[in-house]
Amino acid sequence: MSRARAIRRPLDPPGSSGPAAQLSLTRAAPTAFAALVAAATLLPAARLDAQIQADEAPAFRFVDRAAALGVDFVHGAGERGAFWLPEIFGAGAAVFDADGDGDLDMLAVDGGDHGRTTVGSGMETRPCRRGEHQLYLQDSGRFHRAERSGLGARGYGMGVAVGDVDGDGLDDVFISAFADATCGGDALYRNLGGGRFEDVTEQSGLASEPGSWGTSSLFLDVDGDGDLDLFTLRYLRYEPKLACSDQAGRRDYCGPGAFAPAADRLWRNDGGGRFEDITEASGLGAAASGLGVVAADFDSDGRLDLYVANDGEANQLWLQTEPGRFIERAVANGAAVNELGKPEAGMGIALGDADGDGLSDLFLTHLRAETHTLYRADSALGFLDVTTSSRLGGPSFPLTGFGTAFGDFDLDGDLDLAVTHGGVTRGPRPARRATGDLARDYGQPTLFFEQRSGRFYPVAIEASADVGRALARGDLDGDGDLDLVTGHTGGPLKVWISPDAPARRWLQVDVRNRVGGVAEHAEVQVEHGGRRQVQLLARGQSYLTSHSPTLQFGFGEPAPEASSSARLDRVHIQWHGDPAAQLTLLDVPMNRRLQVVPTP
């Protein structure tokens, strides 16, 4: 009996004579794509006044600068004591260049007023009122509201996916929602340029049916036809009349086990502005309570696979066996449950090569008393739960995690972690007055972890107590290190800026496609000083989130004079969808954003 495993070829050691090491600009494979001339644009760093931090101090820090940067968004959850479950799950966020001016903007997804309130022992329902998603455009380092962005809300907003669905080089936006007959549901917005969007939901066929509950979603080219298809998670078939209590007998939000799970949806882009539901044909019709998702080629067969974090049920690893056809293989590959065989309450997902072996590892956030879980990719066994040895169990045990991202925050060459937290039930956080103030009853801190030799240590950052949900990554201030944006249920959008100038050498890689759009799911390898780092351009991950498309690498070397002389050995880019679509650059300057645009 054979067992299908997600086997990904380990990278050859740097300097070996393996296939990857043979590639260079002058030895491009003789295919149509490889014959293209790559225009590698070296963009100057915005700020280079480096400063080395003392080893004794935390290697990085973040400061919430939302207010100073002009960001004033507060998520509307619409809570009125009815304990309507979707209201405790929202607050999506995205970081992307909405207006095409080269810097990063931010989108905050609003919930709205769902209209449910408690009257006596029953529930009264008034007409819903749509929320107000907010696009913040960056201009000279500050952000301002795009008042006429066209991103008007439909439904009760949850999460966001960003991608160029019409192939015009501009990022379009999909917003998932809890759908209501009056307020609508999921929405697709076409980017018109200049920070303006057009609602094309009806034309696209993506309008969702009332009662459907969309959570995380992402764009991917599933059928290899060159345009982006859409995969969107459905959480539960929610029954609002079911009530639950906490241990003291107070009303509280119900857990997912009280409701039927819902089947996720795969939509094929026909290239003409319409999406067709191909869920059943794709084999993805199994119902499960999905909250987090990421797409990557886990089995190295050239096709994108999907990994779904399910709440309270086994996670799913959907391996794409032929274009648009998937089979589920999480159990056989060790990614369905934790090392104790237990399904956990999967919320958010971070994808990244945490241990530097060239394989994409998975970090999943979970419910309080479960611990978050780090699955290390193994070339023979699929995934191995290494939470205990990585020391991520203890700090995460008392918290409920949602959004998360790997990132080399201290630019030392390995990946660190950030996680938002926020309860979904009251739990052992000291219970306070049940006024409907979500933060007081459910608020938990955002945590940052520094990696040191495979172990993760919490880094002291301001202890917030908001109900953390989305977490998006990107170098917002263009200074060469990563910043973060976090969405909070019923709370503010926070903009976590890394306030110090990068103390170590770095490189950012921005991979584009032929029309200048983001080259989704491209893979970038960088080699320097005998060490190789690999990152995948996967914007859709975390929870209800879309990350910046620019990949960030750190090299661990102090950078006092980095601007002039520092160079790294090699950068190799593999575009997704065509094995021959690759490019190798040698002797590349550091402390730059490298934008790679294939030109016809």
Partner: protein
């Protein structure tokens, strides 16, 4: 109450220790607000607004005892228990601490305090565990919980010490001690030792689901697919997580007076076949909060007592409160079918299956349809349930149906073959799977392969003394004669 785990700074180098402490401060919950101050000498209490009346009454009563006898460790400890069980851990910890200050040698207060501190992620938990251990060094639940705490804190040596002591200690912690040692060995990368410990845990307590789950993963990592599948099956067959027997925790649970705890205790009594006590607990929960789930639990307790009419009334109350509660529709459907009202029962089961096409609802509906002679629709629902969970017995039944159905239009050997192969992946080699695979090959006219599969099925079944051998032989003879096996209508 579960127990928490935090990092132990002592196990890390100085620089990292600083980071850990900072991190812990960041994760520690904010102090519980003092919103109600009792009379002179009394303890600060959390906000008791909106808690159910018996909870408030109990806590306030315990508070009065403390006010009346402020030097009584017993009064402070009992107040801590009343707070603790109703999720006011921070206040509970204060009360336990006061009780310990008054009576430093009383083990329960030290034990509860250690568990409460872990629950709220307080760095003082390690010291509290040490104090409890001084007072009762041979209590296995304490040793196991402290071992778990240290393992997750990264202190492998400390964890090993306490698990090893758990092997020798009083109480029922032996299984958990082996389980902990298995986790330790896994963290060390010693798969063989880990598997040996996990196997000891399952041998000592075959109902320990956690140990089976760990064993499944260990077998997977060792490349032993069949054993992994068997362990996964054992895991899936056990309802509910393993519970470490602990007299002190049992005493704490008794303190719960909210609808939540009445319901919890009712479930425990139901599982223990103490049906009348379960009924009483469920009725008390309903008095406090008439939740649909409580009515459904009451219906279960009544049905077990053969009080079908009352059970039906209770579950219909559940559906009045929450009309789309799939589990109640499922329960009602089963009840009605059993009561000889199949049409009503099927209607309820259909509703349950539509609401929740998971294993229980869709499978039950599918089975009942098949039993009612509606095999085609029944199979459709059974197949639908497989989309959610590949329950091996259902998969086997559906695969057999598609290979052998007398309806030629429905017969689908390829589909049956796919299902049988999937079964082999899930459960490993079993005679009945090769039997179905043989039938699937035969349905496609691939008789050589059918014969091979059927021979293998017959050989395996014979080796296991299975009563299926005769049927398998008959099918084998058919294949040798170039005929598929067709089930009777």
């Amino acid at each position: 109450m579960s127990y928490s785990k935090i990092v132990t700074p002592a196990q890390n180098p100085p620089t990292v220790r600083l980071l850990l402490l900072c991190g812990l401060l960041a994760t520690a919950p904010a102090p519980e607000p003092v919103l109600a101050t009792p009379g002179e000498g009394g303890p600060p209490l959390p906000d008791l607004q909106r808690v159910e009346p018996p909870v408030r009454k109990k806590i306030e009563s315990r508070q009065s005892e403390v006010v009346a006898r402020p030097e009584s460790a017993e009064a402070w400890g009992r107040l801590g228990m009343a707070l603790d069980i109703h999720d006011f851990e921070a206040s509970a910890e204060s009360a336990y601490a006061r009780a310990l200050a008054l009576d430093p040698d009383h083990f329960p207060w030290a034990y509860y305090r250690a568990l409460t501190l872990t629950e709220i992620s307080d760095p003082r938990a390690a010291d509290a565990f040490d104090r409890a251990l001084e007072l009762n060094p041979n209590f296995s639940p304490l040793l196991i919980r402290y071992g778990d705490f240290l393992l997750d804190a990264g202190d492998a040596d400390g964890a090993r010490l306490h698990y090893s002591r758990g092997l020798e200690a009083d109480g029922d912690g032996l299984t958990y001690a082996f389980f902990g040692l298995a986790r330790l060995a896994l963290a060390d990368g010693d798969l063989e030792a880990a598997a040996a410990h996990a196997e000891q845990a399952t041998a000592l307590d075959p109902s320990n689901r956690d140990a089976w789950g760990l064993l499944a993963e260990l077998h997977r990592r060792r490349g032993q697919d069949r054993r992994a599948a068997e362990a996964r099956q054992a895991y899936a067959a056990i309802r509910g997580p393993a519970v470490l027997a602990d007299v002190f925790m049992a005493e704490l649970m008794e303190e719960g007076v909210s609808s939540f705890w009445h319901h919890k205790r009712g479930q425990f009594f139901l599982a223990s076949r103490l049906d009348e006590r379960a009924e009483a607990e469920f009725r008390r929960a309903i008095e406090l909060s008439p939740h649909a789930i409580f009515f459904e639990s009451l219906a279960r307790a009544l049905l077990i007592q053969e009080r079908s009419d009352e059970a039906e009334e209770a579950v219909r109350r559940a559906l009045e409160v929450a009309p789309d509660l799939a589990s109640s529709h499922l329960f009602l459907g089963r009840l009605l079918v059993r009561a000889g009202r199949p049409e009503e029962g099927l209607a309820s089961l259909r509703r349950a299956a539509e609401l929740r096409p998971d294993t229980a609802a869709a499978q039950e509906f599918g089975r009942q349809l098949v039993a009612a002679g509606e095999r085609v629709e029944g199979m459709r629902w059974l197949e639908r349930s497989l989309e959610v969970e590949e329950e091996p017995q259902v998969l086997l039944g559906v695969a057999f149906f598609y290979a052998t159905t007398p309806d030629a239009e429905l017969r689908d050997g390829e589909k049956s073959e796919r299902m049988a192969r999937r079964l082999l992946e899930i459960t490993g080699e079993r005679p009945e799977i090769f039997d179905v695979l043989g039938a699937a090959f035969a349905a496609q006219g691939r008789f050589d392969e059918a014969i091979q599969a059927a021979e293998r099925a017959e050989r395996l079944a014979r080796g296991r003394g299975s009563p299926m051998v005769l049927q398998m032989r008959r099918r084998l003879e058919l294949y040798r004669a170039g005929q598929p096996f067709i089930a009777s209508r």
